[in-house]
Amino acid sequence: MRNPQLNSHGELQHLLTIDGLPREILAAILDTAAPFTEVAEREVKKLPLLRGKSVFNLFFENSTRTRTTFEIAAKRLSADVINLNISTSSTAKGETLLDTVDNLCAMQADMFVVRHAASGAPFLIAQHLAAMGLEHIHVINAGDGRHAHPTQGLLDMYTIRHYKKDFTGLTVAIIGDLLHSRVARSQIHALTALGVPELRVIGPKTLIPTDVAQLGVRVFHDMRAGLKDVDVVMMLRLQNERMQGALLPSPQEFFKYYGLTADKLECARPDAIVMHPGPMNRGVEIDSAVADGPHAVILPQVTFGIAVRMAVMSMLAGN
């Protein structure tokens, strides 16, 4: 079965997941993103690449932040951006996901940016478009369930490359709620594809997915041991509803054992960078002193995120 995000020439048709993408395509996206970073400093922060194209932000799950970054990226490429926030309750009233897609296709959409609570929803859309003969419409996954958040994974790679230049000598640790994290899954696939030799995940057993080691990571439950000599610390967000109950006893205990503090960060290399996909829970997964400290590159991540999304949209539109 052909990877549904590649076209018959092996080019990126949709961006649905980083899983299975060759290193060359990932490197090409990062290379393409570099010149886009400079656009933000111009008098006119706009490029004409997507002029006349309609980009639909199709958000079945609310996320102002992610939607905004995609909106800015599309607008800087001169696209017409239409935002649709479709709560799952309204689709439950009758119209299915694919009904919605069919309607928007009839409005001459060129690109869908899809956020959905169910893993795989963007694949369903891409497969449906193929079945309808609408291959010219591109789909970008802006986060599906626990499955993938590929543009976040790519902007994280851009950030790491910006600060560390080369992936092939790095030790990287991903910390926190991996079980529910689409960000972590995209990071793991990207880091392994780009040749990171030592990739660790750290968290309590309740938050580590079954058989995750088979994705190419080493599992640690002791944060200090896991942070030893790492170059890159990637924190994950802990959702409020998971902070107490059967997964974790309390946010306080989680912070004590798995929250990133200056003290624990000393186990990492002196020049380690600290990343977080946002929004942060200060005092739950990360201490303010670290979040605002000299190791943090959390705000540059946001800036690079726009350029990476511009690069992805331009590459898809051109393929």
């Binding site: 010149p35 111009r42 008098e43 004409p48 590459m315």
Partner: protein, 164 residues
């Protein structure tokens, strides 16, 4: 067909420009060959304003047909464009589409006082109303030929004619 010597053409082009420049004039080379020529001119003319470079890939009119090209270079305009005279420098002038893209891009940085065009070779075949102010050498080529500026490892520029 014997191609003229590119290094000598650069010197000739610099002499053409010398008289027509304002003290604030900035040179902007178009990637990749135009940047090499602009570097030569910038050194020969001893300009104060730093050299600008453009990769017009983001402004090309054939994007929807052929997509983004690999190996994009960042554009770098290290001066204020507003009210400044600007000279776009390119190696070979052909259809004029690249120059149109370059002018569009420059306007996204600000409103220049004027824009002129200096090219090493004008090979004819224009598809847009673009006219260079300075040309080092003019010739006519068949559409099935491509004229390329190349730079050796030692940094020497030369022109090469290849089949399109």
């Amino acid at each position: 067909m014997v191609m003229p010597d590119a290094e000598r053409l650069c010197l000739a082009l610099a002499e053409h420009l010398r008289t027509g420049l304002h003290p604030d004039t900035a040179l902007v080379g178009i990637h990749t060959g135009g940047v090499w020529v602009a570097e030569r001119l910038h050194a020969a003319l001893g300009l104060k304003t730093p050299l600008g470079t453009l990769d017009v890939a983001f402004y090309r009119d054939d994007f929807s047909r052929s997509g983004l090209h690999a190996q994009l270079k960042p554009s770098d305009i290290p001066f204020d464009v507003e009210d400044r005279p600007i000279v776009i420098v390119d190696d070979v002038l052909y259809t004029g589409r690249t120059i149109r893209a370059a002018m569009n891009e420059i306007f996204d940085y600000g409103r220049p006082a004027r824009i002129d065009l200096a090219v090493l070779i004008d090979r004819g075949g224009r598809e847009l109303p673009v006219c260079p102010r300075w040309v080092a050498h003019a010739l006519t080529l068949d559409p099935d030929k491509n004229l390329q500026l190349e730079r050796s490892d030692a940094g020497v520029l030369s022109l090469r004619l290849i089949d399109a």
